[in-house]
C-alpha cells in the first residue's frame, strides 16, 4: 500500500516495464496451473470410489453398481490409469479449455459455465461499480473529519464490512420487495432485477473499500502538497476532489482485482437469495450433488477471472498513477 503511494517511484524504463508485464503474464499462467493442480489434488483425496460416486450422481441413487458398470466408467474416464497420467491428462485438458464433463448432466463443464456466466458477470461488475460509487461518496464527504456525523459514517463502514451479503440481501428483499413492493421478488434477468442483488453485494464491499480509501484519504489530507494547494487559495471541496481523492483511491484500485474474486463468492450466495440464474446456482447444486468436475471447473474458471481482473488492474493503474507510465 505504501509502495504505491511511496514518495520515490523508481525511474521507470521501457525494459523494466516490459519485464514487469512479462512477469505478470507468467504469474497469471502459473496461478491457473497451480489452481488446477490443487483442485486435482483435493479430488484425489476423495473418500470412496469415484466411479461409484459418478454412477450414483448421474442416476440419483445410492446403490452398489456392478463391477462391470464400474469398469466401464473407469475405462471411459481413465480412473484406472496411473495417477500422474490422469494428472497430465487433466492439466492438458484445462490448458485447452476442457474442464471435463459433468457427472450429472454429462455435458461439458465449460459449456455449462458459458451458459450461466453472463448474469453472474453482470451482477459482479455492476456491484463493483456500485461499491466504488458508494465508497467514494462516503469518503469525500466524511474522510479526514471527526465530527459526530463523520464518526457515525465510520461506524457504518465497519458494520458494512462485517455484514455478510446474504443478510443484507435478505433485508433488502424483505424491505423493498415484500413490504414496499418496489421491485418484484423474483427479479429475473432485467435491469430492475439487478438493482437489489448488486446493491446487496456492493454494500459490504463498499464498506471494505471505504475503510481503506478513507484511511488513506485522512493521511493524504495531511500531506504538504495538500497544504500547498490550500496555500494557493483552493477551497476545501476542490482540494478533496482534485488532489486528495486521486491519491486515496490508489490502494483501493489495487484491491479491486482481489475484490472481484470475493465478489464471485458473494455472487454465489446472492444468486441463491434472489433466486437469480448464474454460476452460483450451478455451484450450489454441483456441491450438493457432489458433481466434482462441475465444482472444480467453476473454481478454475473463477481463478482465471481473478487473474484476468488483476491483469486489467495492472494495466489501468498507470492512468491514475502516471508515475508508472513508460518514460
Amino acid at each position: 500500500m505504501s509502495e504505491s503511494t511511496g514518495l520515490v517511484a523508481g525511474e521507470p524504463t521501457r525494459a523494466g516495464r516490459v519485464r514487469v508485464v512479462l512477469h505478470r503474464l507468467l504469474g497469471a499462467i502459473f496461478v491457473i496451473w497451480a489452481t488446477a493442480s490443487i483442485t486435482f489434488g483435493v479430488q484425489s483425496l476423495l473418500p470412496g470410489d469415484r466411479a461409484e460416486l459418478m454412477i450414483n450422481a448421474a442416476a440419483g441413487t445410492f446403490t452398489q453398481p456392478t463391477a462391470a458398470e464400474l469398469a466401464a466408467v473407469n475405462a471411459k474416464y481413465g480412473f484406472d490409469r496411473p495417477f500422474w497420467e490422469q494428472y497430465l491428462h487433466y492439466i492438458g485438458g484445462v490448458l485447452q479449455g476442457d474442464l471435463g464433463e459433468s457427472y450429472q448432466s454429462h455435458r461439458p463443464v465449460a459449456e455449462l459455465i458459458a451458459g450461466q456466466i453472463a448474469p453472474t458477470l453482470a451482477l459482479t461488475l455492476s456491484a463493483l461499480a456500485l461499491a466504488w460509487a458508494i465508497a467514494i461518496a462516503v469518503t469525500v464527504f466524511s474522510g479526514g473529519r471527526d465530527g459526530p456525523v463523520a464518526r457515525a459514517f465510520g461506524g457504518f463502514q465497519v458494520i458494512k464490512a462485517v455484514a455478510p451479503p446474504y443478510w443484507i440481501g435478505t433485508i433488502l428483499l424483505v424491505v423493498f420487495s415484500i413490504h414496499l413492493r418496489w421491485v418484484p421478488v423474483e427479479g429475473g434477468g432485467g435491469l430492475q432485477g439487478l438493482i437489489l442483488p448488486s446493491l446487496a453485494l456492493a454494500i459490504p464491499l463498499s464498506g471494505f473499500i471505504g475503510q481503506i480509501i478513507r484511511a488513506e484519504f485522512g493521511r493524504v489530507l495531511e500531506q504538504p502538497f495538500v497544504t500547498s494547494a490550500r496555500m494557493r487559495g483552493m477551497g476545501n471541496l476542490a482540494v478533496r476532489l482534485r488532489h486528495v481523492l486521486r491519491h486515496a483511491v490508489l490502494p483501493g484500485i489495487t484491491l479491486s482485482g482481489w475484490a472481484l474474486g470475493s465478489l464471485f463468492s458473494g455472487a454465489a450466495v446472492i444468486e441463491t437469495v434472489f433466486a437469480r440464474p448464474g454460476i452460483g446456482g450451478l455451484l450450489v447444486t454441483g456441491t450438493a450433488t457432489r458433481d466434482i468436475p462441475l465444482v472444480t471447473g467453476i473454481i478454475i474458471a473463477s481463478a482465471a477471472a481473478y487473474v484476468i481482473a488483476n491483469l486489467i488492474v495492472d494495466l489501468l493503474y498507470p492512468i491514475i498513477d502516471p508515475r508508472l507510465k513508460q518514460s
Binding site: 514518495l7 517511484a9 502538497f225 487559495g233 476542490a238
Partner: protein
C-alpha cells in the same frame, strides 16, 4: 519589552508604510479557552515591501504556526487572537474562510519545505505551478495557462521549462522541484512571500541557489517572511530577525545587531552551538552540559595501541538492484583508512554513497568488490559466525535512534543487552548505571521505553549502547542530523569528550560540512559513489583542490556568520 515593540524598529529601519502589521498575535489549540495563546504567546512585527523578516527557532518554538496563522491555515482546532492583523490596509481578523481563500495565492504566496512532498506527485509540474491562476480565474484558456507557466518556470530558473512543465515532480531534481514550488507561489505575483524552511531538505549546493532565487524575489520588491531553524540561512537573507522559543519572542532585532551583539542569553547559546571551523577543539554547549561526570576508566577501548590502521577499506564497490530490476552502482572504488584514535569524516550530498560505505565498514553489507580490513583481519570476507567475536570492536550510532531500539525494551535492557558480559569486572546493574551516567543520563531513565524519551536522550542511549562493548571504532551515520541545533551541540560535545576519555576512533558520516569540520581530523569528500578528495580537515576546507569540493565549501554559510566569539568557552 522594548525589544518587542514593533514601533521602535519601524522607526529605525524604514519609512515606507508596512505591508503587513501584526500586533500581539496569539495562537492556541484545543477548545479549552485556557489553551488560547499557548503555542504562540504574543508576537508583533511590521513588514515593508522589499524587506525580509526571518523567524528562527528550534522545533516547538511556534514559528511555523505563526506563519500559517498569517494565511488563516493554522489548523482545525486552533484559536487565533490578535490585537491587530492587517495586510495592505485590510483587517484580517475579520476574515472568514472565503476571504482567506481569495487572499491565499493572490496576495500572499507560501512555500513549504521539501518540494517532493509539497507538489502533487500525480500531476504534471506545470499543472501545479498554474493551479493558482486557475483557482483565482486570471487565465481564460489552457493555452494561456501553459504560456504563463513556462514564463514562471523561466523566471525561477528552471532549465527547459516547456519540457519540465509536462513532467511529474519526481522526474525533476530536488533543486528544480523547489524552484517549481516557488514558481507556483509566485504565479499571481503576490506582494508577500512566506517561505517555511525552504531549503531544509536540500543539499548545500542547491540550498545556496534557492537562497539566491529568494533574494532576487526580494530585490524585485516583494516582502519576504522566512521561517527557519538555521541561523546561517537567516544571516544571509534577513533584514530583521525574530528569535522564538516555546512560543515566546526571545529577541527581535535587525540582523546586524542580532549577530554582532545578541542581547539574550538564548540567542547567544544558539549562535555558539553552530559547529564550524573556529569551533574545532572547543565545546559547543559549554553551559548546558558539563564534562563527563562518571569515571570513564572502565570503558576505555579494549586492546593496546595498534600502529597501523584499525579499519581500512580498499577498492570497495557495491551495487544494488532497483525496483525496476536495474543494477545501480552505489559505491565505486572507495578507499579509506582509519587510524587509532582518529576521526575520519565522510561528507557528501544525498546519494553520494556515504551511508553505504558505512554499512560496508560495519560488515552489514558485503562489498561486491574490494575488501574491508578490521584490525588487520579480512573483515568483509569472513562469514557471519567468523565476524561475531570481532563485532564488539566496532559499533554504530544511527541517525534515527528510535527505529534502532526494540520498542518493547526499556533503556536498561537496551544498554544491558550490549554489554560484553562482566568485562568491566563488576555487576551488570552497576555497569548500566555507569554507562548511563557517562552519557549524561540518570537512574531515572533506566525504566523508560524509547518512546518516552526526547530525541537527544534517545541519541544518548544509542551512544551508551555503542560504548558498552568497549569498541575501538564507532561508526556514526548522521548521528545529529535529526536534532535541533542546541541538542546537536550537546551530542557533539559528548562525542568529543568520550573520544578523548576512551580513545575510540570515529568513522563520522554527515552531510553537514560544519559538523564534519568541527569534529574530523581527516575528511573524505564523496560524490556519486566515488571519493572526490581526501585530506586533513584544514586542507579540505581551506585549500580544496577539486572543483566539486570548492563548490561544496563555498556553498557553506556557517563560516560567513558574523563573528561574535570571545564569549565563554569553558
Amino acid at each position: 519589552m522594548t525589544a518587542r515593540d514593533p514601533l521602535l524598529h519601524r522607526a529605525a529601519t524604514a519609512t515606507a508604510t508596512p505591508l503587513l502589521t501584526v500586533e500581539r498575535l496569539r495562537v492556541g489549540f484545543g477548545r479549552d479557552p485556557a489553551a488560547a495563546g499557548a503555542v504562540v504567546k504574543g508576537i508583533s512585527f511590521a513588514l515593508e515591501p522589499g524587506r525580509c523578516l526571518a523567524i528562527v527557532g528550534e522545533s516547538g518554538s511556534g514559528k511555523s504556526v505563526t506563519a500559517r496563522s498569517l494565511v488563516g491555515l493554522t489548523g482545525r482546532n486552533a484559536t487565533v487572537q490578535a490585537e491587530r492583523l492587517a495586510f495592505s490596509g485590510r483587517d484580517l481578523t475579520r476574515y472568514g474562510e472565503r476571504d482567506w481563500q481569495r487572499l491565499r495565492g493572490r496576495d500572499i504566496g507560501f512555500v513549504l519545505q521539501d518540494a517532493l512532498v509539497s507538489l502533487d506527485q500525480l500531476r504534471p509540474v506545470g499543472d501545479e505551478v498554474g493551479e493558482g491562476l486557475r483557482i483565482h480565474r486570471v487565465i481564460r484558456s489552457r493555452e494561456e495557462q501553459e504560456t504563463r507557466v513556462v514564463e514562471l518556470l523561466r523566471l525561477v530558473g528552471v532549465p527547459e521549462p516547456e519540457v519540465k512543465a509536462r513532467q511529474l515532480p519526481h522526474e525533476l531534481s530536488g533543486g528544480q522541484r523547489q524552484r517549481a514550488l516557488i514558481a507556483s507561489a509566485l504565479a499571481l505575483d503576490p506582494a508577500l512571500l512566506i517561505a517555511d524552511e525552504p531549503t531544509t531538505a536540500l543539499d548545500v549546493t542547491v540550498q545556496a541557489q534557492i537562497l539566491d532565487l529568494l533574494e532576487a524575489t526580494k530585490n524585485r520588491g516583494k516582502a519576504l517572511i522566512l521561517i527557519s531553524h538555521d541561523l546561517s540561512v537567516v544571516s544571509r537573507m534577513a533584514d530583521e530577525v525574530i528569535v522564538m522559543r516555546h512560543g515566546e519572542v526571545v529577541e527581535q532585532a535587525p540582523v546586524a545587531t542580532l549577530f554582532s551583539a545578541p542581547r539574550h542569553e538564548y540567542t547567544r547559546r544558539l549562535l555558539d552551538a553552530i559547529p564550524a571551523a573556529h569551533t574545532r577543539g572547543t565545546r559547543l554547549a559549554p553551559a548546558s552540559a558539563p564534562r563527563l561526570t562518571a569515571d570513564a576508566a572502565h570503558w576505555r577501548r579494549r586492546g593496546g595501541d595498534t600502529p597501523g590502521p584499525v579499519l581500512e577499506g580498499r577498492d570497495l564497490v557495491k551495487r544494488f538492484r532497483g525496483p525496476d530490476g536495474q543494477w545501480r552502482t552505489v559505491v565505486r572504488g572507495v578507499n579509506f583508512s582509519l587510524a587509532q584514535g582518529e576521526t575520519l569524516g565522510i561528507v557528501g550530498e544525498s546519494g553520494s554513497g556515504k551511508s553505504t560505505t558505512a554499512r560496508l565498514a560495519l560488515a552489514l553489507d558485503r562489498p561486491d568488490e574490494g575488501t574491508v580490513r578490521l584490525l588487520g583481519r579480512d573483515w568483509s570476507a569472513l562469514d557471519e559466525a567468523g565476524r561475531r567475536p570481532l563485532r564488539r570492536e566496532i559499533s554504530v550510532v544511527y541517525q534515527d535512534p528510535l527505529s534502532s531500539f526494540d520498542p518493547r525494551w526499556t533503556v536498561e535492557r537496551i544498554v544491558g543487552d550490549a554489554l560484553a558480559g562482566g568485562a568491566a569486572g563488576f555487576g551488570r546493574d552497576a555497569q548500566i548505571d555507569e554507562l548511563l551516567e557517562l552519557v549524561g543520563l540518570g537512574k531515572a531513565h533506566r525504566r523508560r521505553r524509547p518512546l518516552e524519551l526526547s530525541g537527544g536522550q534517545r541519541q544518548r542511549v544509542a551512544i551508551a549502547r555503542a560504548m558498552a562493548p568497549r569498541p575501538r571504532i564507532i561508526v556514526c551515520d548522521e548521528p545529529v542530523s535529526a536534532l535541533d541545533v542546541s541538542i546537536q551541540a550537546q551530542i557533539l560535545d559528548l562525542l568529543g569528550d568520550l573520544k578523548a576519555a576512551l580513545g575510540v576512533s570515529y568513522l563520522f558520516i554527515s552531510h553537514d560540512l560544519g559538523v564534519i569540520r568541527h569534529l574530523s581530523d581527516r575528511v573524505l569528500v564523496m560524490r556519486n559513489g566515488e571519493v572526490v578528495e581526501e585530506g586533513t580537515a584544514d586542507a579540505i576546507f581551506d585549500a580544496p583542490q577539486q572543483d566539486y569540493t570548492r563548490e561544496l565549501v563555498s556553498a557553506v554559510l556557517h563560516d560567513r556568520l558574523p563573528r561574535i566569539k570571545g564569549t565563554s568557552h569553558g
